[in-house]
Amino acid sequence: MRHDLLKSFLTIFIYPVFFYVGPVNGTTLSEGVLQDALSRELYKHPVWLTILGYEDKGILSTAVASIYPSDAAFISDNGRTDPVYEMEATLNSFYEVVGEKLDDHPQCRFRARFIWLNTELKLADRGLQTVECEEFEQWKRFDSVESISVMLVGGFLGNPASYYGHNMLKLNSETSSRSDLQNESINFGANIPPADGIFKYIFKGITGGYQGVFSSADFFHYANNYGQTEHRDIWEYELDLNDAELTLMLGLMWELMHVDFTYYFFNKNCAYRMAKLFDALRGIELTNSSSLWYSPQTFIQRLTNLSGSKQIFEGNITYHPSRQSAFYAKYYDLDNLEKEIVTELVTHSGTFENQKFEDMPLPSKLRILDVLLDYYQYTTADGQGNVAAINNPYNQVLAKRYQLPVGVSQFSPSQPDSPHQSRDMSYSAVSRVDNTALGPVTRLRVRPAYYDNLDYGVGHVPAAGLSMVDIDLMLHDGEVAIRNFSLIKIESINLRATGLPSDDRRTWLLEAGVAQDRLDDPKSSVARIRGQIGYAVPSPNDRGVFGLRAGGSIQSRYRGSDYVSATATIFATYELTRKIRLHLMSEYREGPTQESKLRRIDNLAIRYELAKNFDLRFSYEKNVATELTLSFGAYW
């Protein structure tokens, strides 16, 4: 923000003369108030900049402009680019005549501005008649909100927009007449027309083709959708804010729910918008407007790592397990006989008749029925839980439960580690390679997101992988070549699968990108889409997984390869210790013509965790030529 002596003179002594301060609702904006605001440069304050969405115009510019696309967000004609004019127009608007509908008055519509400016300038003490904003008071349930929680919803592979999770806020009201499910929750997302197909959805989501808005609803809407339908865990991080901060945040959320944004999937998404709200508090900065991406996990990690005067999280975490997580936790808490009865009831689900069950004591019966209810909810395919069907096994279990006395079943408490303790999201590594055909090679890898089958952590699916724009370059004889560029790679494995019907141990892999077809030729890069499906079983001690997948790929052609090929892979991932993991894989690849002979590719990779955000990896790979690789990696 440019500020020189001339501008100071103008703002303090000249501008007030030209602004309308005529009669309004019996009081007027006094020149003293205006000069106070201007002399204190409140238009430069982080709270003011946050409320109006002002961001630096560019790296080399000191000017700011608001990112709000709609003119309705501003009072003055120059509001989008001039915080001074907008502040002056805002202050004047507070003195406007009050019409029939109080909630239309600027003190109510621009609630955050009013709350903050009233606090800073003591407007009410200096003659301003304040307006009762009934809609705002009802929305925030008057003074019942005692804290705000930041929510992290786990990732969901069923929807590309949800791969990396989601953030929301929850307003916690401590009253005996309202449960947590009734607490107001604040969401930010893209407003997507129902007719948009997947490719349009992806394109517009990435390029800013959608409007983004804040909205609010009772928490049970989200808890039900995420936890019951999408089977996503929710982590809640309760913040420690004082009353003034709480009031300001409520006003900010209210005001921003009436503002339009432009939604960008990678960097101006739910996580970014939620994190930006906290710029209004204590000089906190959780975001960088020039970041190429910003994830829900990053938001939570930065928020929980604030310290000193900026610390607003004191460690109060609540875990809301999804139906799937609840099912697995309960199932694996059953003893062997209880598990045996569950298996029998599931595999013979025509009628609920099982003598072993009838012979069990009541507490075991309640446990078994609870597990079965969760199992049928988790494995029902319609996404809404219940199914209309005669002899529906879920209803049979429910009917059995109604026959038994009321009471809550007992299970051992189970809570996984919180995702805020996980390592950072992005990864870079530099490698030294010894190639039997090429000699020494240097490789440089950058993976913006997210994890692979060796470095999965808290909040990730164990032994699985999810990555985007993972690029691995090789430098050899002064030339750079693409060793691997994975636009997207998903490796789905469910280590906790019980093996019950519909909860099988299926594994699948999908990858699209560019890869070096053979290790003896740096110019053998081909564009490739490949997919595989198969079966994976956990190791007896649950520290690893063994699997087999088969599938194929479509690719551009290179010598010794066809456009298509069939593949079969056997693999194993194992955690030797908490810090050492290994992955072993052999893939058989063959095309339909004589040009593409059966080829076997072997890979052994070992990862050692040096620290939370650093690792060492060693790998052996044979694909025509052989490579031994040692790499040092860092997460950021």
Binding site: V153, F156, N159, A161, S162, G165, H166, S177, R178, S179, D180, L181, Q182, N187, G189, A190, N191, I192, P194, A195, D196, I198, Y201, G205, V213, S215, A217, F220, H221, Y222, N224, N225, Y226, Q228, T229, Y263, F265, C270, L373, Q377, G383, Q384, G385, N386, A388, A389, I390, N391, N395, Q396, L398, A399, R401, Y402, Q403, P405, V406, G407, V408, S409
Partner: protein, 164 residues
């Protein structure tokens, strides 16, 4: 087969709304008379044919407005604690019926909060609803019901218990 008590209860609600309609509009909470499932679009509107992306975390999910805009009754009629209760029952039906079977739970407590029932009323309503559902759930006719029909049945059971 809907329990007789529920039919009587729902009939009493509707009869009261019809007889005292003009007075009710001035003094009673709106939405207590009509069946929210039939007249306010609960069920049909809340989960329309869902675009694959529609329930993603990045989509606006404005349940209340969606329900009201597809109502056959007026928006003013489709407000109030009973419609809110019906919407809650529809959305969280599975959790509600499971907790009713167990005799307690956060969703049951939330539903009773929405209906502003005191402690004595809560215990009586829960006992009555549990009794109704215990006889309904095992029946093939219940199996064959859609989610909307099941939720409506539960709602009528709750309303019948309140009225009795």
């Amino acid at each position: 087969m809907i329990h007789k008590k529920s039919l009587v209860g729902s009939g009493m609600i509707l009869a009261a709304a019809l007889v005292f309609g003009s007075v009710a509009q001035a003094q009673e909470p709106t939405g207590s008379g009509p069946n929210p499932f039939r007249d306010c679009g609960i069920g049909a509107a809340l989960f329309p044919t869902t675009n694959w992306a529609a329930v993603s975390s990045n989509v606006i999910w404005d349940v209340g407005t969606t329900a009201v805009t597809s109502a056959t009754a007026s928006p003013q009629t489709c407000q109030g604690q009973y419609v809110a209760a019906a919407a809650f029952i529809f959305e969280t039906f599975d959790s509600l019926t499971e907790e009713a079977a167990k005799g307690s739970g956060e969703h049951i407590a939330t539903l009773l909060n929405i209906l502003n029932l005191n402690e004595n009323e809560r215990a009586a309503v829960l006992t009555s609803v549990r009794r109704d559902m215990a006889s309904l759930v095992p029946q093939n006719s219940f199996d064959a019901m859609s989610k909307t029909e099941k939720a409506e049945t539960f709602y009528l059971s709750v309303m019948g218990a309140i009225e009795s």
